[in-house]
């Protein structure tokens, strides 16, 4: 096998794809938060506004790990030229 620049570029593209697997975690976390929020609204419909705000802020924080993966993927793709 020859380790030339094309090999490096291909591996960088593969790495960017693999890095984005982290999106699964963020998706599951956000889904769980949304599900629990729906349960909470079902139990206490009058607190809907507060529950919605808390859910959205929590989801935005949970999203962070996925965004780290995204930043890493962008750095790797930047090497493709």
């Amino acid at each position: 096998m020859e380790y030339n620049e094309f090999f490096v570029q291909g591996m960088a593209a593969l790495g960017a794809g693999i890095a984005m697997i982290a999106g699964i975690g963020a998706g599951i976390g956000q889904g769980m938060a949304a599900g629990r929020a729906a349960e909470a609204v079902g139990r206490q419909p009058e607190a809907q506004g507060k529950i919605l705000t808390t859910m959205i802020v929590g989801q935005a924080v949970a999203e962070t790990t996925g965004l780290y993966a995204l930043v890493i993927a962008f750095i790797l793709i930047g090497n493709l030229g």
């Binding site: 959205i56 924080v61 962070t64 965004l67 780290y68």
Partner: protein, 221 residues
């Protein structure tokens, strides 16, 4: 001196960031002139009333989290909020948002870092602050330092990642649909520029508030 010189000297996000800061300063000076001429007994209307509600809201928020120190934090939070609100939704005006450049967001996170650490140093005193880094056990010191450094970096990267991914996806939709793009893109702009942009404003301000009120000395709260 030609315009290309400025374009290469400033990195892309900084241009629009400076433009936004100049516009906001102009707006605030105008509002100051307008408010100064009002008498306190008049009923306020229009923009002045909206600004009063905003300032009231921020003051109440700062009082809730900072107690006696709220007068120092409320202006900082309102400034950050105004800047980020307009910076994140700038995509609506056809300008690339300044917060989609990592230089701008990490600059904001340096500000957050000095705010959080400065709060700790001023309220606990230098000795108390350093002693706080060795709690709960002395060998936790490196972990505490890394934890303090990771907070602003995660703040900056969170903002950057959200806005930048919005810019990329909007650009992809524009590129994929060509001349038919205006049918779909209003929805994309509404989601990525307005909805996610405003959520990130709330998240950034809330996290800065929570971290700096955590580093307040505990007996003052």
């Amino acid at each position: 001196m030609n315009i290309e010189y400025f374009q290469t000297w400033f990195s892309p996000g900084i241009n629009t960031s400076i433009l936004l800061v100049i516009l906001l300063t102009f707006f605030i000076v105008l509002m100051y002139q307008k408010i100064r001429r009002l008498s306190p007994t008049d009923r306020s209307t229009g923009v002045v009333m909206a600004l009063e509600l905003l300032v009231d809201f921020i003051n109440k928020f700062a009082k809730e989290h900072f107690g006696g120190y709220w007068k120092f934090y409320a202006p900082i939070l309102l400034t950050l909020g105004l800047y980020l609100t307009f910076a994140n939704t700038m995509g609506l005006f056809g300008i690339r948002p300044p917060t989609s450049s990592i230089n701008v967001t990490l600059g904001l996170s340096i500000l957050a870092f000095f705010l959080i650490q400065g709060t700790g140093i001023v309220t606990k005193g230098g000795v108390g602050y350093i002693k706080g880094l060795f709690e709960p056990l002395p060998f936790m010191f490196p972990l505490n330092v890394i934890g303090e450094l990771a907070v602003p970096i995660s703040l900056g990267l969170r903002l950057f990642g959200n806005i930048f991914s919005g810019v990329i996806i909007t650009g992809l939709v524009y590129a994929a649909l060509g001349n038919f793009a205006p049918i779909i893109t209003p929805v994309v702009h509404a989601i990525f520029d307005v909805f996610f942009g405003l959520i990130q404003v709330v998240v950034f301000i809330l996290l800065v508030t929570i971290f700096s009120s955590n580093s307040l000395a505990s007996e003052e709260q």
